[in-house]
């Protein structure tokens, strides 16, 4: 079995706040779906084909200068906790974490880029950056894609674009998403109205962990649905425009809340602080909900600590696999809730 290097516990590039600090947008992410010409898509590929794919992919990854010699992990050589650890920090999907033979991930040293091999598509490239930064994220992933293409011939058609296993990704193969924190719209019960008013065709809003996940901690992911008939730059522009409208509504909702219900808002924030400081047992959902109030407190200048960096880091640190890596042992669900509460109490104290 291959152990995850220790640095994975302390560093995570995309969780650091951008400069200037963006109070509302946590991160920007772009992924590209690509397949190698002449080999069936991974789901239907034989074991020989899966090996051909991974061999070509590994060679291309090694040769891509923009990836700068990344760490490479094979799923069937890793402990489940390590695989889920990588999924919790969005370096791989849960599907890849569940898989095994000939399934790989290459992760850049700063943990802002990763390439999954033999997931739904032969290659799934992704770049994650802090704050509201789809433009830079696109530049980086575009370079990685171009570098990989030096060693790989992608499956491509003039009509359908980059060919993917699922027709919902065909064309550019791009999925852009921004993770936003919208507490004031949720508290004032305006979120549904605002999202349904501004969300246009081809755009979708989801929870923290992407597809199929619930909304937790007032964190939302805004992403594109269309990949065919619209260019990468237009997709980004569309999300950017929509994001500005949502953020504008959030700022207005916050101003109104503060004007009309300041004491209730502050009460909510301090109660969250008190619970995090003293609770003995805590689920990860409760923690993420309470972190939302702490973030609001930081935004309103009620607290100076913790830093946004540290708060972002805690959102992943309180999840099950992260807890077990920190405790250096397997924990039952009850033990995890106790350990999580302890970890948070110590974090708040410092």
């Amino acid at each position: 079995m291959v152990d995850l290097p220790k640095k994975y516990l302390t560093e995570c590039g995309w969780l650091k706040t951008g400069k200037p600090i963006d109070n509302l947008v946590i991160s920007s992410r772009i992924r590209l779906a690509r397949n190698i010409e002449g080999i069936p898509f991974s789901q239907w590929a034989s074991s020989t084909d899966l090996k051909r794919i991974s061999e070509q992919a590994k060679k291309a990854i090694r040769n891509a200068s923009s990836l700068n010699n990344p760490d490479l992990f094979c799923m069937d050589e890793m402990e489940p906790t390590d695989r889920y650890f990588l999924a919790e920090r969005n370096m791989i999907s849960r599907e890849l974490a569940k898989s095994g033979i000939e399934r790989y991930v290459a992760i850049c040293k700063d943990q802002t880029a990763s390439i999954m091999v033999n997931e739904e598509d032969h290659l799934r490239l992704q770049v994650l950056m802090p704050g509201n930064n789809l433009e830079e994220t696109w530049k980086r992933i575009n370079q990685i894609d171009t570098d990989l293409e030096e060693s790989i011939t992608y499956s491509f058609s003039n009509t359908f674009g980059y060919l993917t296993a699922c027709p919902t990704n065909v064309g550019t193969g791009i999925r852009c998403s921004v993770m936003v924190h919208l507490p004031a719209l949720v508290i004032s019960r305006r979120i549904d109205k605002v999202l349904s008013a501004v969300t246009q065709m081809g755009i979708t809003v989801r929870g923290l962990s992407g597809e199929g996940s619930e909304i937790t901690g007032n964190l939302f992911q805004i992403s594109n649905q269309w990949t065919l008939g619209i260019s990468e730059l237009d997709t980004i522009a569309k999300i950017d425009t929509l994001l500005e409208q949502i953020l504008d509504q959030e700022r207005k909702a916050l101003d109104k809340l503060i004007k009309e219900k300041r004491s209730q808002v502050e009460d909510r924030i301090w109660r969250a602080f008190a619970t995090l400081s003293y609770a003995q047992v805590m689920s990860s959902n409760e923690a993420i909900e309470l972190f939302s109030s702490i973030r609001m407190g930081l935004n309103l200048g009620i607290f100076e600590k913790p830093s946004y960096d540290s708060l972002n880091d805690m959102i992943v640190r309180v999840r099950p696999a992260h807890l077990q890596k920190q405790a250096e042992k397997t924990l039952t669900a009850t033990e995890r809730d106790e350990y999580r509460a302890e970890l948070i109490r110590n974090w708040i104290k410092n």
Partner: protein
């Protein structure tokens, strides 16, 4: 509104389903609803609009569902039925094999059935640059038309940069 399946009769039945916090809606006529196992207000519990959106294509295509369902890709051997069940195609050639069935589906879930954007330019940096310049020029024209001058200025600078790179290759 016309039925989304046969595109002939007026849509009388409107179904909205929530799955994994995603909302799926369809609007269909009485005849087509019966073909899908929907009677009155009772819906077969296994009925899923998500699957249905994938599966309805065989109805739209000349009603020859049987033929389409058993059609297989000559390269990977995937049957159209297997695609309908999994929602995943087997290989690149499936896009050609199932093209008549896929196009109506893509029209529903995508903006247009014509790729716009990056294209592979393996080993030919000049070609990629030229393609990008012509694409950006198109965008610039559009930005000026929409009086989005901030974007236009950005695009103009990008074009200048790329033209500068092209001049290294001796291409204007």
């Amino acid at each position: 509104m016309l039925c989304e399946i046969c595109k002939k009769n007026p849509a009388k039945i409107h179904i909205t389903q929530l799955k994994n916090s995603k909302k799926y809606s369809i609007h269909i006529c009485h005849d087509c609803s019966q073909k899908c196992g929907i009677e009155g207000t009772s819906i077969n519990p296994s009925f899923s609009i998500e699957q249905f959106l994938t599966g309805n294509i065989s109805f739209t295509k000349n009603q020859d569902a049987e033929f389409n369902a058993h059609q297989t890709c000559s390269s990977c051997g995937l049957s159209y039925n297997a695609f309908k069940e999994s929602g995943r195609l087997g290989c690149a050639l499936c896009y050609d094999t199932f093209s008549p069935e896929l196009k109506p589906l893509l029209q529903k879930v995508q903006k247009e059935v014509k790729h716009i954007g990056k294209t592979p330019g393996k080993g030919d940096a000049q070609l990629v640059l030229r393609r990008n310049v012509s694409y950006l020029r198109m965008q610039l024209k559009e930005a000026v038309g929409q009086e989005n001058f901030e974007l236009a200025a950005k695009l103009r600078d990008q074009i200048r940069d790329m033209e500068g790179q092209l001049s290294h290759y001796g291409i204007e």
